[in-house]
Amino acid sequence: MTLSNFNVNDIRKQFPVLDQQVYGKPLVYFDNAATTQKPLCVIERERDYYLHENCNIHRGVHYLSQMATEAYENARKTVAQFINAKQPQEIVFTRGTTESLNLLATSLGQLLVGEGDKVVVSAMEHHSNMVPWQQMLMHRSVISTGAKRSGEISSNLLVIRMDKKGVLDLNHYEELLKQRPKIVSIAHISNTLGTVNPIKEMIAMAHKYDIPVVIDGAQSMAHQVIDVQDLDCDFYVFSGHKMYAPMGIGGLYGKMEWLEKMPPYQFGGEMVDTVSFEKTTFNKVPFKFEAGTPNVGAALGLETAVKFIQSFDRQEVESYEDELLRYATEQLSGIEGMRFIGQAPKRNGLVSFVIDGIHPYDLGTIIDKMGVAVRTGHHCAEPVMTFFGIPGTVRASFAMYNTKEEIDIFVKAVERAANMLR
């Protein structure tokens, strides 16, 4: 299927925020791995909801409530279909990746992880896919020994090593799996290095030991076609705001057999079946994981964002974004002292670097004044920075609306800043 409807100038028109000047210079927005901008259709969808449809869902018998409930459940269907889940009920709406991972650390942790049990993550995880597991494991040992202080290092969090290119060591992974961890949780695409991990292979490896696998898809949903059935992952988590949807909405895909077994995460309205002062029975999946009033407007925005992404030939978008990355890498490599952090053969969406003798913060500050928005710092992945022995990186991350012209501006800005700072 070739729609060939990919025209970056047309796309940019749908993102009014891009059409502005900062400090008198045209904005170059390369901080898409932190959050993407939102197209008009998404903004209008959420606005429309509040203008015409706003209502609390799942409980009213009246017209508006029924309409809003239907729209919300349709959004669930759209998301389920987008990642090829077997059924809409396998999608739990959350606030985003972080909440999804906290839900899993708590609920799946309660189901599977006892004293002394282990969880596997990788050396390239951002804090969201590390701290919840670490804290859950620590809490287990605090409870069991009664003596350990909170904040103590947990040896039960097993970390898959990576090499200096930012590629995970699958032999080491195999070794860790032999220790029979209860859960494996890894990023699909690293937010710091851009590495695309061989998750399908890694999922299959864990399944040989009957270990469930959580995939952190925060950086992949906007860029790659996700098929959870093909991947055979047990869970897949993501944020809406990194895929052109509003902030405050995201999701958790889980295989039904897991979601049914897992205990609720939060308690309150919506997630209950029958309640008395003695006892409460819980609603069915996914509602038992959606306590309280959800962010309906944002969920509808997410649905529109999904449809927006689907309106393009995904292959065409992916090739375009790959070409941006290739071009940026090529242009940057001419700069004296350039050192790319993350040189895995398979990368996606972003380029991360340091320049010898220049602090990333200084570089980011100067190019900001030239209108270029990049992220500098540790990208909420401090262990990754420690591994490379650097205080942080400059990270330029791309979306479908970015252009080679913007990359030219960016590269010139980096060159100029580097000259100032040397």
């Binding site: 913060y361 100067i366 500098t376 205080p391 100032m420 700072l421």
Partner: protein, 137 residues
């Protein structure tokens, strides 16, 4: 010179530049001229926590006046701390505590003063004030 006089001369220097690039160039120069902290104090006890770059600040009192030295791994941050050192170093604790910091607005550093900014200018000012308070009297 009094704190006010130094501040005025800094404002004058900065006002010669319309362009932000030139102002940054000046901050970078100031960073390179920063009176560097004695290596023995370049440790966590003297660290001011900014989010993205680290700043170490040391103060000592001689003849009733406070003298600051500092360092940072980022040169712009070092320029900012040196700017503050120029203003405060060699002044009495009482004068430092009484100082009006509005000159930072005038040189366009106001945006850096917001507590959510990552370079920690506010923390630097606070830390200097704290030294002055401890060394006062």
């Amino acid at each position: 010179m009094t704190i006010k006089e130094i501040q005025d001369s800094i404002v004058e220097e900065f006002s010669m530049f319309d362009d932000w690039m030139d102002r940054y160039a000046m901050l970078i120069e100031m960073g390179k001229e920063c009176p560097i902290i004695d290596p023995q104090y370049r440790n966590d006890n003297y660290l001011i926590n900014g989010c993205q770059s680290r700043v170490w600040l040391h103060a000592e009192k001689r003849d009733g006046k406070i003298y600051f030295t500092a360092d940072s791994d980022a040169v712009i941050t070092k320029g900012i701390i040196n700017l503050l050192i120029k203003v405060f170093s060699g002044q009495t604790p009482a004068d430092i505590l009484a100082a009006d910091m509005s000159f930072l607005d005038e040189i366009g550093l106001k945006e850096h003063l917001s507590p959510t900014r990552s370079n920690g200018l506010l923390s630097m000012v606070k830390q200097m004030m704290l030294y002055a308070e401890v060394m006062n009297g």
